[in-house]
């Protein structure tokens, strides 16, 4: 997109409304068809361009205006390329749940150019969700970009609006019965090709897939908080998940600029199965009076080179969530090692849930 002053025959790539040469108004020209003038194949990786080799093209439109574009495709000099068509056709995504993870996943998807329909339960939530997402996007995008992102977001309270989406990412309450109800409902609503994914951090993919009409199209896509900064997605493969569904999930993760890792369905998958025992053990150390929480956090940060200590992280995750994941691990793996520390239970019962309630191991 360029701005043009016809009288002075001047072009700007910047958003310029008034020509400084004549004081007249400029007009905006938007072209999508370009001709390849020149290209180079880059073999040296750099920040933001880690995957090599890639091509950089000098393109020209019919007005003689040029743009630089990066691509993985190989074009010949003189080829015509359509930049609009070159944009990957984005899938329509339905996100279930407007809690911490649901809104963040929806926010990140619209930032990456995906059309999103977010399902919430209460129509009273809609304004709050939009203003929360706008505020967070404003921290990393220009005003106009934020508005463009928000054009891709629809919020609904009606499952019927999700009938035509390509993939569902479910991020409702971390409760097997709640999630079962959601997927049973969706089975009757969504078109047959819609893929079902759950953002569950620990529940059984197979147990959830069993209530749907499409267990082979069911998969886990476990995002991490904060979604826009955490580069991992755990792709959880159930016993009936098809290879096509697996490929679809991996491609989606790559297109979202995330690193997918594959894990078979099992309690806590990889991250939580490794993390929660550590948090649990830290709480036991504290409960036994062996060290202070500050010193345990320092030990883990400085000795294990983790960015956060176990108590800081537990508060950030939410102590109720920690407890429920530990219960799943304990029940699923049967090892007493996973039995939640008594202090954790006490704190959850007292309503000390961490950062979100204002008090956990630390006060906020």
């Amino acid at each position: 997109m360029v701005n043009y002053c016809e009288k002075c025959d001047k072009y700007w790539n910047q958003e310029i409304r008034t020509c400084i040469f004549c004081g007249g108004e400029t007009r905006t020209i938007s072209e999508s068809v370009y001709r390849v003038l020149s290209s180079t194949k880059v073999h040296v990786p750099s920040k933001g361009n880690e995957n090599v080799p890639y091509f950089v093209y000098l393109l020209e439109d019919k007005h003689g205006q040029k743009v630089i574009r990066k691509s993985d495709h190989h074009y010949q000099i003189g080829d015509e390329v359509n930049l609009d068509a070159a944009v990957v056709a984005r899938y329509a995504v339905g996100v279930i749940g407007s809690g911490l993870m649901g809104t963040q996943i929806a926010e990140y998807l619209v930032q990456m150019g995906y059309p999103v329909i977010l399902k919430t339960r209460d129509p009273g939530n809609v304004e709050g969700i939009i203003s929360k997402i706008r505020k967070r996007l404003s921290k990393r995008l220009q005003e106009q970009e934020v508005e463009e992102c928000l054009e891709n977001l629809v919020i609904t309270t009606d499952y019927a609006d999700l009938s035509d989406v390509d993939i569902i990412i479910e991020a409702s309450k971390e409760d097997l019965d709640v999630k079962k109800d959601v997927f049973a409902e969706l089975s009757g609503v969504c078109k047959t090709t819609t893929i079902f994914a759950t953002n569950s951090s620990s529940l059984s993919i197979d147990a959830l897939a069993a209530v749907t009409d499409r267990p082979e199209q069911f998969i886990g896509l476990h995002f991490f908080n904060p979604v826009h900064r955490m580069d991992l997605i755990e792709v959880v493969v159930g016993s009936n998940t098809s290879d096509e569904t697996k490929k679809f999930a991996i491609n989606l993760a790559h297109d979202l600029k995330k690193q997918p890792i594959l894990v078979k369905n099992s309690p806590g998958f990889i991250v939580n199965r490794l993390l929660l025992p550590q948090i649990n053990e830290a709480i036991r150390l504290l409960g036994d009076g062996i060290a202070s929480k500050e010193d345990i956090d320092s030990a883990v940060k400085l000795g294990l080179n983790h960015p956060m200590g176990p108590f800081e992280l537990a508060d950030f995750i939410g102590l109720d969530i920690c407890l429920s994941i530990l219960e799943v691990l304990h029940a699923g793996l049967g090892d007493d090692h996973f039995e939640p520390a008594p202090l954790l239970r006490e704190m959850v019962e007292e309503g000390k849930l961490g950062y979100k309630s204002g008090e956990g191991f630390y006060t906020y």
């Binding site: 001047k10 910047q14 400084i20 040469f21 004081g23 220009q142």
Partner: protein
């Protein structure tokens, strides 16, 4: 040297990019000036943190992109917060060879930045001697304040009054960062401590903005304002290398030369703009510019001599405190205000019949000082 065109953006947290701000201010100055953009022979652009905050250097060529086909000489000047008064000073040397010079000041500090602004601003101090010992920018001025308050036995009260007066002036300046913000003494006193004795209301804000001035070797219209003197002076960068923290030698030296060149003294001034990046700096400036004797600044403030109706109105635009402090644009914004006042175009904040105005623009903690004296 005559100023025939001025332009600026609003200051504050703005959605425009660095080049978007530059273009808006350039267009404003060209529309204000009898000249056309094609009449400009040289452009000097002042900017402090384009590299560390925006990841953009080579700003002279960025400006060339905004003026396609002109291909004129453009250079960038950087002397921390004094960048734009020094850019204006450099223009005076070009005028022997060229007729019309445009000076641009710009800073884009909010939004996505490569490193936090506080860390970037600390680059105005000595890295080894100051910054690596925890002396971030507010801490440096806090040391100045602590020394001053101890030496002259004044308390924080006077700084609160300086903050208040600046905010009141900004309420009359629609382009100011805090134009709409209503301030009370209670808000000032209860604001969070930043670095003792300075609290939040002693500090200027992080602002985006641009200002542009066009100067020429001749007078084009009766709206032109004459530059009687532009002088710059320097001092060692680290506070550890100074004899005295209650006064800035760079200000004293540049002011002495400027008064000499202009052929006027401090008593002849109608208005002044001083570099109140922190309130204490305004107090020190009043003394270094010889508006009053050392240690007498507080009296001037309490007597309301520095208000719009006072003997010597200071920072009629709201100062850095409340007009805002987009670092690379700040010195030119001061010039913009004095030109507006001398042209009698300042609206609700217009002072009565001003004749001479002075702007003091500091880089770092007095490591650089640019002084400009204008006549209406």
């Amino acid at each position: 040297m005559f100023i025939n065109g001025i332009g600026r953006t609003k200051f504050g947290s703005l959605s425009k990019s660095l080049t978007g701000l530059v273009y808006e201010a350039m267009l404003g100055a060209i529309q204000d000036s009898p000249l056309e953009i094609q009449d400009i022979d040289v452009i000097i652009i002042s900017n402090f943190l384009g590299g560390p905050l925006n990841g953009q250097l080579h700003l002279n060529s960025e400006v060339a992109s905004l003026l396609p086909g002109m291909n004129i000489p453009i250079i960038r000047v950087e002397t921390a917060c004094a960048s734009s008064s020094v850019a204006l000073n450099q223009a005076s040397y070009y005028l022997g060879k060229h007729k019309n010079i445009m000076i641009i000041g710009v800073e884009k500090m909010t939004g996505n930045t490569l490193i936090p602004p506080t860390e970037a601003i600390a680059m105005a101090g000595d890295c080894d001697l100051d910054k690596n010992n925890g002396l971030i920018f507010p801490a440096a001025y806090a040391l100045v304040a602590a020394c001053y308050m101890n030496q002259y036995g004044v308390d924080h009260d006077v700084l609160e009054k300086i903050s208040y007066i600046n905010h009141k002036n900004a309420n009359l300046n629609p382009l100011a960062h805090f134009y709409h913000k209503e301030i009370t003494y209670d808000m000032i006193r209860k604001s969070p401590m930043v670095s003792e004795p300075l609290n939040l209301f002693d500090c200027s804000p992080i602002s985006d903005g641009a200002a542009v001035i066009i100067v020429s070797d001749r007078r084009y219209s009766d709206r032109d304002i004459s530059v009687l003197s532009t002088q710059i002076a320097t001092d060692s960068i680290s506070l550890a290398e100074r004899k005295d923290l209650t006064s800035f030698a760079a200000t004293r030296v540049a002011a002495r030369k400027a008064y000499g060149e202009a052929g006027i003294g401090p008593r002849d001034l109608s208005i002044i703009e001083v570099h109140d990046c922190f309130t204490i700096s305004e107090l020190v400036a009043l003394e270094d510019l010889r508006i009053c004797e050392p240690g007498q600044g507080a009296e001037l403030v309490y007597n309301e001599d520095i208000t719009l109706k006072g003997r010597i109105p200071v920072n009629t635009d709201g100062g850095l405190k409340a007009n805002g402090h987009p670092i690379g644009a700040t010195g030119l914004a001061q010039i913009y205000e004095i030109v507006t006042q001398l042209r009698q175009e300042a609206g609700k904040r217009q002072v009565d019949d001003p004749e001479f105005g002075l702007a003091q623009n500091i880089g770092g903690v007095g490591g650089t000082c640019g002084i400009t004296i204008l006549e209406g």
